[in-house]
Structure formats: structure tokens, C-alpha cells
């Protein structure tokens, strides 16, 4: 069609549409005359008029949305760019899209990178880039991707800059990292080749500026190709602008930011040493599967790069040779003056390490196994076990120290000469290397440096924020609990270390006071959803720091954090511990659910406040925790313990003990290795079932699981006392005293042993000392009562009555009231005694009052028959106070009575 002809048609079309359709045909025929073709054309077009309504009236929104949603416009397969024909997209990145393409002239495959236009606007930059690319190509280095051509094509939509490079069959290091663990040998190979590439480039004055796993290609034959030299220079918006808006999952690598050197992060000029830093980041990530500097936002990552020291490699891969840590630390030095100054230095260090490992592998094959050497085939780069139970095996003879942990992710298995029979999938084994490393680290330590006792001081709540007190206390206790399970280690108990809460402590003084060789201190700070925890392990002989670490975590990571800290300290401590072969479970597993864990911690915190209201609240929190995590064994154990606590005080035993038992069994069904649950069950058997043998078994189990568990020691001691096994009881109480020297509990028990073994004068002396300690605390009423009781039996009636009154002034407990009644009775004040008896009867109408109490006053008054009646009633109530029937001195006048003997037998005690 010619323009003139079309003009003619248009005019007719337009005029026709203006006319009445009925008259149109005639009019048109007249206009066209004998130009039949014209008439036909116009008529044909008019035929489309009814369809014209709305045609092209609305924009192609759906296609626009799809076509425009990609930030960078992409060319499409089949498109030709100069002599290159695009075939498929190989990858997309901030620096453009890379296509696989065919060079139609040379008949070879190339990778074609199209640079986004925004990167090529600055001609000067483009020119410099060309220059560098030429220089890099001239190097002809095997580890540097060969650039064939840098060019541009101009199409109607503008100029497109492209880079044609050799096409490398393989995958990026990022893809390799995603796929799974690498061997140490591979890691060293990749970093060595990359360092070689960098060394060559730096020699020519070219800095890569963007070393990251995405820019390292791994060929199937093992050859590494470094991509995109100098390309980063083209990027105009390299500086991160919107710091706090980019959120990632913690621990994930976030784009290029994670690999920036501190000077890059500051936006300063960079030189070769910046590449060395970035390569250090890559190395760290390959070894640990973690970014050395991470954070929730880009800003956090940058702060981390600028300010924080990365966690030591051994946190994630404890079996790595120590020299690797040195290499990584040096590459990641904040000050570039402290880094390797040239890539060739880093290259040499890595080569040397690799050669050493190869040499030792050969020696090993030859039968001469150097202890603690690491194999190049070691799997690395595994995600560290997050919140796993860590099993420990400590061998006596200083030989392999093995820490195993069931992990949720695929684990690696290090083979020994004598492989342990452990399921491969669920175990992480810190190999002999650990022992070797520790020996190396501590060299020829004198035997006197052994650690056999440690104190974990309450972590300081740095903000003095009562809202997070449970966090600082909770972390302290969780850590203590983890360490308590090491049989070779005495871990100072809660009651003692918590007396140091809020006090400045000199490690050396503490070492003397508590007879410990090491002390752990910590600080906890919370900022919104983040917590910062600083932990230090110090030697109390000279106050030197053995280890220190700063953690920045999200509250959600709390369960993992405490396990992590415990693991790290354990690793540090093990070479210093006394031997002993045993297998224990470290770090009772908390659920990954941070909310449940926090409820648990808060519950624990309140539990140890020892007041009724707080313990009731604690129960509520534990119950909330199990509502969130029905399988939360530790929380179930705590519920059981709260009920056993309530059973003797606030709830009828018939109500509390079944609940305690149910919770304990629930806990044990989840995890039979929980000392707490065994303790709760022991108490149920002890106080409710009167199953002495069963209780003993459970106490023993709890103490095998956690030899430092003072709560269990104390309850067990109480049972031994009731059975009249005073010598055994005393040994346990001494152990408790050793672990918890500042707590009144062991002293209380020692006094009890003296009282029930009828050594009243010694009991009184001991109780007087104990009373000093507990003076002013909520516990003081117990000491006053016990002292009063001992005084009464020592026939010092008035002093005894006075102590009992003091006890009642603090806490008007029925138990004490009955003792006062007994005191009045034996002191000859029968009326006063009867008055108290009446008071107890009156109380009993309102609430549960143990019949044992009323039997007691009767005994004071010499009313034996009535006393026996009350005791029979107590037996029917299954009052746990009855358990003292075998040893309580005031029952001595009844011991030959057959009714009393029958009662004793019923309780399971020998007359």
C-alpha cells in the first residue's frame, strides 16, 4: 500500500462512518466509481467497525506488569547481539544478566554478560574498566576467566554494553556451598587458586573488589576461575544506602555486603588488601557455613564488619587445625596493615598448611600417626548443630576427647583409626584433633593447672532491667546445668554462686573463697529483639582469661545460644579437666521455640524466689511453655518439681503428688536422661508412694545424670536420714556443702543429721552457725524452728520456746505451731499447749492440717493413745510428715507399742 492510496482510503472511511449506515453503501459506491478495489477495501475495513468499540482502548496492563516486573530488562533467547546469539540465561546478578551464547563467527560457546545501562553511563568508568579487562586478559592466568571481547551493540532501544568471556562448564562456589559440605582439601584448593589469581592480578595493579562465592566458578576438574575482575568498579551505587531496611534471616549470607572489607564498608578507596579480606570471608564461610559477620539487616552486617570479631572457627568446626584460625584471623584483620599485605603471602601460608596435611596423611599411611592431625578429606562447612544435646566422652588417658552431638542437619563424621560405633547421621564428632589442638594450645601444662572446680557467677544484667533478669539468671543456670553434668568437674551450685549476684568479684579472691580453679562471668544486654551476651572464662590462680566471647543474637536464638556457650566452654575446659571415663549428656535440649524457652527461663527464675505466689506463677509459666511445646521435657520436669514443692506445703499430698508424677512421667517419656525429671519422680516415690527402694533408684539416677545436682543430693540426704542411714547421709551432705558452700541448705541437712542421731549439743552449735547465714532471709524461720526443736530435746525448754516463737513471728506455720505446743507441754505449761492444740483443730476445719502436728502436742502432754490415734489418721492421710516416724526422737516413748510398730511397717520402715 502506498501512502497516497491509504490516505484515500482513510478519507473515505472517515466520511463513511459519519454517514447513516443505511445510506453508506450507495454513497461509497458513488465515491469509488469504477475503482472496485478501493470500494472493496473500504467496505472490508468498515466491516470491522462494530468490533472497533474498545479495541486498543485499554492498555496491556497484564503484560506490562509481567514485562516490567524485572528490575533489569532482559534480552531473550534467539536475540542476536552482534555476532553472538543468545541461547539461555546462565545467571542474573546485580551486575547484569549472563547468557550462554554462541559466537557465530568463531563457532564457540561464550558467556555473555550484558551490563545494566545504569552501570555504563559514566564513560570514564567504562573506559577504565576496558583498560583493566585488557590488562587482566593479558595475564592469561589459568584461574582468571578469559575475556574475549568487551563491546557494545546499538539497537533502537539504545546501546548495550556486553562482555564476552570463555564459557566455563561448572558451578559457582555459591552453588557448591548450597549443595553441601566440602572437604577441607577442596576448601584449601579453592582458596589457594583464588589467592593465586588475586596475586597475579594485584601484581598488575588490578583489584577485584567483589570477591564472593558467586564470582568463583568451580570446574568439574577442580580448576577455579575467578570471574568479573574489576567489574565492581563500574557499579555506581556500590555504597549501601538504606542501611536498616534489608532484612535477612540471621546467619544467612546477604549479598555482597557480607564480603566487604571494613574500608569498603566505609566507602574508602580499596587496594589489594581489601580482596584479601573478602577472600578471608569466603574461606570462613566455606569452613563454617556461616558468614563471619552477620546481622539482621545490611546495617547490622556492616557494623559487624567494622566492629566485631568473628566467632572462632572451632565454634562451628572444632576439629580444624589451629593454624587455619590464624590464617583466617589475619585475613580478616580490621586494619589492613595487620592483614596479609599481599595475596602471595596468604597463598604461601595456605600452601604450607596443605603440604603439612598431605605429609601427615602420608605418614599416617606409613603407620606413624601424628596425634591430632587433621585429614584433608575432613568434611567442613556443615551447619553447626543448633540446639543439640552434646554427649561427652572423656577418656582417662588424655587420649581422644570426643564430643558428639545429635544434629538436625546432615552431620559429618570424622573417622579415627579406631572408629567409634556411633550412628553417622546423628553425630558430630570433634575428633582427636581437638585433643591434639588442646595439647598444642596448652602445651606441657603442669599437672597443678588442672581444673576440678568451677564457678559460674550470675550473669550481669547490664541494663539492670528487671524484665530481663530471668534471661541473665536463666542463661547462668542453663550454663551451670550443662557443666554440672561433667563428672570430673565440681560446679559450684546455685545457692552459692547467686550470693555473688550484683557484686564485683576478683577471680583470684573467688578462687580462694570457693576453692575453684576457674570462673565464668557474663553480661547480658537486651536491645529489642536482640540480645548481646559477653562470656568470659578466667583462671582463678592468676586471674588470666582462658577464653572470652561476645555473642549477638536474636531472642529467638536463645535456646541455641546457651547450648553454644556451654559447648564452647566445655571445649575449652576439657583439656584442663581431671580424667574419668563416663558418658554424659550435656545441655539438656530446649526446643527451638524461643518463646517456650523464655517462658521456661522465667518460670525457673520465679521458682527460685521460693515464695508461694512466685512458685504458683512459675507453674503457670511452665504450663504455658508446654502448651507451646508439648514435648518440652524440661518444662514438664519443672512442673513436676513445683508440685512436689507444693505437696508438703500448699496442697494436700493426695492432690499434688499425682500431678507431679504425671508431669515427671511425661518428661521422662520425652527424655529419659533428664536429671530433673528423675528427681521429681524420686520425690513422688519418696513422699507419696513411700517406696523407699524405688525412690533411692530415682535419686541415684538423677545423680548419675548430674553429679552436681545439689537439689537431688539434698532430697536424697533427707531420705537417708529418715531411714536412719546417718553416715551415708553425712557423706551426701558434705558433698552438697562442697558444691554449695554459701547455701544454708547443706548446713541445714548436717544439723538435721545431728538432731536425728540425737547429738543435740552439736546440732544446736551447727544450727546457731546456720542461723547466722540465713538471718534475715525467708529461710530463717526454718533454722529458728529446728534450733528450738533441738533445744527442747536438749531440755533447754525456755530457749527452745523462744526460738520457736521467733520462727512463728517470721512464718506462722502449723508445723512450728505444733512444736511450740509440744514445747509448752514438756515445759509444764499444759494450758498453753492445749490452747495451741485447739487452734490447730480450728484451723483444720478451714483447711488441711496434718494430723502429725496434733499427735505431736499430744505426745508433749503425755497423751499416748490419742497421739497414736492421730498418727493412725495421718497414716490414712498419707501425710509425708509420717516418714520421720522411724527417727524422730519425740516418738521414742511409743517405739515398743505394737500399734506404733505396725505403723512403721506400713510406712516401709524397720522398727
Amino acid at each position: 500500500m502506498t501512502p497516497d492510496r491509504w490516505q484515500q482510503i482513510k478519507d473515505l472511511l472517515h466520511a463513511a462512518t459519519e454517514r447513516d449506515p443505511a445510506a453508506r453503501a450507495a454513497w461509497l459506491a458513488a465515491q469509488c466509481g469504477d475503482d472496485v478495489a478501493l470500494l472493496q477495501e473500504v467496505e472490508a475495513l468498515l466491516g470491522f467497525e462494530p468490533q472497533n468499540d474498545g479495541f486498543l482502548e485499554s492498555p496491556p496492563a497484564a503484560v506490562a506488569a509481567k514485562a516490567l516486573e524485572n528490575r533489569t530488562a532482559e534480552l531473550l533467547s534467539g536475540h542476536k547481539l552482534g555476532r553472538y546469539e543468545l541461547q539461555s540465561v546462565l545467571g542474573r546478578g546485580g551486575m547484569g544478566t549472563v547468557y550462554r551464547a554462541q559466537d557465530t563467527q568463531l563457532g564457540r560457546q561464550v558467556a555473555l554478560k550484558l551490563l545494566p545501562r545504569r552501570f555504563t553511563l559514566d564513560e570514564e568508568r567504562v573506559r577504565r574498566f576496558h583498560q583493566e579487562a585488557r590488562a587482566i586478559s593479558a595475564l592469561n592466568h589459568p584461574n582468571i576467566l578469559t575475556i574475549h571481547e568487551i563491546g557494545e551493540t546499538v539497537s533502537a532501544s539504545g546501546a548495550t554494553h556486553f562482555i564476552a568471556t570463555e564459557f566455563v562448564e561448572g558451578r559457582t562456589l555459591r552453588a557448591a556451598l548450597r549443595e553441601g559440605s566440602l572437604t577441607l582439601g577442596t576448601v584449601l584448593d579453592v582458596i589457594i587458586q583464588t589467592a593465586a589469581a588475586l596475586a597475579a592480578a594485584h601484581q598488575s595493579g588490578i583489584v577485584h573488589r567483589d570477591i564472593k562465592p558467586e564470582n568463583l566458578m568451580l570446574r568439574p576438574d577442580g580448576l577455579v576461575k575467578v570471574l568479573d575482575f574489576g567489574l565492581a568498579k563500574l557499579s555506581l551505587n556500590k555504597t549501601v544506602t538504606n542501611f536498616s531496611t534489608v532484612h535477612t534471616n540471621p546467619g544467612l549470607i546477604m549479598g555482597t555486603v557480607s564480603y566487604m572489607s571494613p574500608e569498603q564498608a566505609r566507602g574508602l578507596e580499596v587496594d589489594a588488601r581489601s580482596d584479601i579480606f573478602s577472600l578471608g570471608v569466603v574461606l570462613y564461610e566455606m569452613l563454617t557455613a556461616r558468614a563471619p559477620f552477620d546481622g539482621a539487616t545490611t546495617g547490622d552486617v556492616l557494623v559487624s564488619i567494622l566492629e566485631r570479631e568473628p566467632l572462632p572457627l572451632k565454634r562451628y568446626a572444632p576439629q580444624l587445625p589451629a593454624v587455619l584460625q590464624k590464617i583466617v584471623s589475619r585475613a580478616l584483620a580490621k586494619e589492613r596493615e595487620q592483614r596479609y599485605q599481599q595475596a602471595s603471602e596468604l597463598l604461601d601460608a595456605l600452601k604450607e598448611l596443605k603440604q603439612e596435611l598431605e605429609l601427615s596423611a602420608r605418614l599416617k599411611r606409613a603407620g606413624d600417626t601424628p596425634a591430632g592431625q587433621v585429614s584433608l578429606s575432613l568434611r567442613v562447612g556443615q551447619s553447626a548443630p543448633n540446639d543439640a544435646a552434646v554427649n561427652t566422652v572423656v577418656n582417662t588417658d588424655d587420649a581422644p576427647t570426643v564430643v558428639t552431638a545429635p544434629v538436625t542437619k546432615p552431620a559429618f563424621l570424622r573417622r579415627f583409626a579406631q572408629p567409634l560405633k556411633l550412628p553417622a547421621i546423628t553425630l558430630v564428632i570433634l575428633s582427636v584433633a581437638l585433643a591434639g589442638w588442646a595439647l598444642h594450645r596448652y602445651g606441657q601444662r603442669p599437672s597443678g593447672e588442672e581444673i576440678h572446680a568451677i564457678a559460674v557467677l550470675p550473669f550481669v544484667n547490664a541494663d539492670a532491667d528487671p524484665q530481663i533478669e530471668y534471661l541473665s539468671d536463666g542463661l547462668t543456670e542453663s550454663l551451670m546445668q550443662s557443666l554440672q553434668q561433667l563428672p570430673a568437674l565440681r560446679v559450684m551450685a546455685r545457692g552459692t554462686v547467686f550470693t555473688y549476684k550484683g557484686r564485683e568479684v576478683d577471680p583470684r579472691q573467688l578462687g580462694k573463697d570457693l576453692q575453684v580453679q576457674a570462673v565464668v562471668t557474663g553480661r547480658v544486654q537486651r536491645q529489642g529483639e536482640r540480645i548481646f551476651v559477653t562470656v568470659e572464662l578466667a583462671n582463678t590462680r592468676d586471674g588470666t582469661q582462658l577464653w572470652g566471647e561476645r555473642y549477638q543474637k536474636l531472642l529467638a536464638d536463645l535456646p541455641t545460644l546457651q547450648a553454644e556457650i556451654a559447648r564452647e566452654i566445655l571445649i575449652k575446659l576439657q583439656p584442663l579437666l581431671r580424667g574419668g571415663t563416663v558418658q554424659t549428656q550435656l545441655a539438656p535440649s530446649h526446643p527451638a521455640n524461643s518463646e517456650a524457652y523464655q517462658l521456661y527461663l522465667r518460670g525457673r527464675y520465679l521458682f527460685y524466689q521460693y515464695t508461694r505466689a512466685n512458685q504458683e506463677k512459675a507453674l503457670e509459666l511452665f504450663q504455658q511453655a508446654v502448651a507451646l511445646e508439648p514435648n518440652y521435657a524440661l518444662a514438664h520436669s519443672r512442673i513436676a518439681l513445683v508440685y512436689t514443692e507444693f505437696a508438703s506445703q500448699y496442697l494436700p499430698p493426695s492432690e499434688a503428688f499425682p500431678k507431679a508424677r504425671a508431669a515427671a512421667l511425661l518428661a521422662l517419656a520425652q527424655d529419659d536422661g533428664l536429671a530433673e525429671a528423675h528427681l521429681a519422680l524420686a520425690q513422688v516415690k519418696h513422699f507419696s508412694d513411700w517406696d523407699w527402694a524405688g525412690a533411692e533408684q530415682e535419686y541415684q539416677r538423677a545423680l548419675t545424670l548430674n553429679p552436681n545436682f545439689t537439689d537431688a543430693i539434698n532430697y536424697y540426704t533427707g531420705m537417708l536420714i529418715k531411714q536412719g542411714r546417718f553416715a551415708e547421709a553425712e557423706r551426701q551432705a558434705q558433698r552438697s556443702q562442697e558444691l554449695d558452700p554459701l547455701s544454708p541448705q547443706p548446713k541445714h541437712l548436717l544439723a538435721e543429721i545431728l538432731y536425728y542421731s540425737r547429738q543435740y549439743d552439736r546440732a544446736i552449735a551447727q544450727l546457731n552457725r546456720t542461723l547466722e547465714l540465713s538471718q534475715g532471709t525467708t529461710r530463717a524461720h526454718i533454722e529458728h524452728r529446728n534450733l528450738g526443736r533441738a533445744l527442747l530435746l536438749h531440755r533447754q525448754y525456755q530457749s527452745g520456746i523462744s526460738e520457736l516463737r521467733q520462727s512463728l513471728a517470721i512464718n506462722r506455720h502449723d508445723w512450728t505451731l505444733s512444736w511450740l505446743g509440744y514445747g509448752y507441754a514438756v515445759a509444764g505449761q499444759a494450758d498453753a499447749a492445749r490452747a495451741l492444740q485447739r487452734e490447730l483443730h480450728a484451723q483444720a476445719k478451714q483447711r488441711w492440717v496434718s494430723s502429725v502436728y496434733r499427735a505431736r502436742i499430744c505426745l508433749g502432754l503425755g497423751e499416748r493413745d490419742q497421739a497414736l490415734t492421730w498418727l493412725k489418721k495421718a497414716y490414712e492421710e498419707r501425710s509425708d510428715h509420717l516418714l520421720l516416724l522411724g527417727v524422730e526422737p519425740i516418738y521414742d516413748p511409743l517405739r515398743n507399742d505394737p500399734r506404733f510398730i505396725e505403723l512403721l511397717r506400713g510406712i516401709g520402715l524397720q522398727p
Binding site: 500500500m1 502506498t2 501512502p3 492510496r5 491509504w6 490516505q7 482510503i9 482513510k10 472511511l13 472517515h14 462512518t17 472490508a44 475495513l45 468498515l46 470491522f48 467497525e49 468490533q51 472497533n52 479495541f55 486498543l56 492498555p59 496491556p60 496492563a61 497484564a62 503484560v63 506490562a64 506488569a65 509481567k66 514485562a67 516490567l68 516486573e69 524485572n70 528490575r71 533489569t72 530488562a73 532482559e74 534480552l75 531473550l76 533467547s77 534467539g78 539461555s88 540465561v89 545494566p116 545501562r117 545504569r118 553511563l121 546499538v154 533502537a156 532501544s157 539504545g158 546501546a159 555506581l236 551505587n237
Partner: protein, 189 residues
């Protein structure tokens, strides 16, 4: 910064009008990127993307890139470029879709409500692009008007202003062009 100042773009626009052919080369990627960026921002807020209005994009690109004191001729040039760019983006995409359908590599895979609509529009867009190219061979002005109206999203009045023609002329051209395009597209099916 990568966002070109409006002065810059305006100057390029003037330079191009004054016969500097290379100015267009520089201008094009700027407009191109801006359209993408705007669309991106727009789509982030309109999750479904149904309501993406090309006219809105072009107008906003104009406001952002061009000094508002510019005369109507420059304005016309700008919209001319923008509409052309939009056509290119959309048609490239649509062609790729069609290619994918014919057994080529599926590049954009997505399951959302816009999918079927996009499918249908893609086919139409490819046919329209071909037809428009044919039309341009004998009536480039009319082709441009369609481009402005359909891809640039301009109203009759805006197109008239940009082209320096009367509203009625634009309307007449628009209507007859559509008749021709319609037939052309129908025949090519």
C-alpha cells in the same frame, strides 16, 4: 547517582531535537531504566499487577526525568520516546512468551491471576506489533499516534498536544488506524 537529573535529560532531549542523533542513544537507556524502576515500584505496591497503567508510568517518568519548563515539542519527543520504549518492552516480553509457548525455553514462569490475561494479551501484542510495523511503512504518523495512545497511554487530547495536531485529526487517525489494524491482525491469525 544513577538517577539522571532532569536537567540532564532535558538537555539530551533538546540536543536530539537539534539533530544530535547520539543524544537519543543516551536518552533511551535513561527513559528505559526509569520506566522499569517506576513499574517496579508500582508493582511492589500493587501485588497483583492488574492495574498497572502504562500511561501512569510514562507520565511519571516524564515528571521525574524532564524539566517541567520544557516546551510542548520537547514534551512530544519525550512521550514519543517513552511510548516507543514501552512498546519495545512489552512486545519483547510478549514475543518471548509466544516463543516459550512454541516449545522454546520457558523463561518466565509464574502462577498468578494475571497469567491467563497476560497470555492472551501477549498474542495480541505480537500481532499488533507486526501490524503497526506494516502500518508505519505507509503511514508513520498514524503508527506513532497508535503508539502514543496505546503504549504511551496518552488521551486524545494529550496525543494531540504532543503531536501538534487537532483533537479531531487525532481521533480520525486513531479510528481509521484501528480499523486497519483490526483487519490486519484478524487476517494474520
Amino acid at each position: 547517582m544513577s538517577i539522571p537529573s532532569s536537567v540532564n535529560v532535558t538537555q539530551l532531549l533538546l540536543a536530539w531535537r537539534n539533530g544530535e542523533a547520539t543524544a537519543l542513544d543516551e536518552l533511551t537507556p535513561l527513559v528505559y531504566d526509569e520506566l522499569h524502576k517506576l513499574a517496579g515500584a508500582y508493582l511492589r505496591h500493587e501485588r497483583r499487577g492488574h492495574t498497572l497503567q502504562t500511561s501512569g508510568l510514562v507520565n511519571e517518568a516524564f515528571v521525574r526525568l524532564i524539566d517541567q519548563q520544557v516546551d510542548w515539542q520537547n514534551r512530544a519527543h519525550f512521550f514519543g520516546i517513552a511510548a516507543q520504549m514501552m512498546r519495545r518492552i512489552l512486545v519483547d516480553y510478549a514475543r518471548a512468551r509466544q516463543a516459550a509457548k512454541r516449545g522454546g525455553e520457558e523463561i518466565h514462569v509464574g502462577l498468578d491471576e494475571a497469567l491467563d490475561e497476560a497470555e492472551a494479551q501477549s498474542a495480541e501484542l505480537v500481532a499488533l506489533d507486526d501490524a503497526l510495523s506494516s502500518l508505519a511503512q505507509f503511514d508513520p504518523r498514524q503508527s506513532r499516534i497508535v503508539e502514543l495512545r496505546y503504549f504511551g497511554g496518552l488521551t486524545i487530547q494529550e496525543a494531540a498536544e504532543v503531536m501538534g495536531l487537532s483533537d479531531s485529526t487525532i481521533e480520525r487517525e486513531w479510528n481509521t488506524a484501528r480499523l486497519w489494524l483490526r483487519r490486519e491482525m484478524t487476517n494474520s491469525e
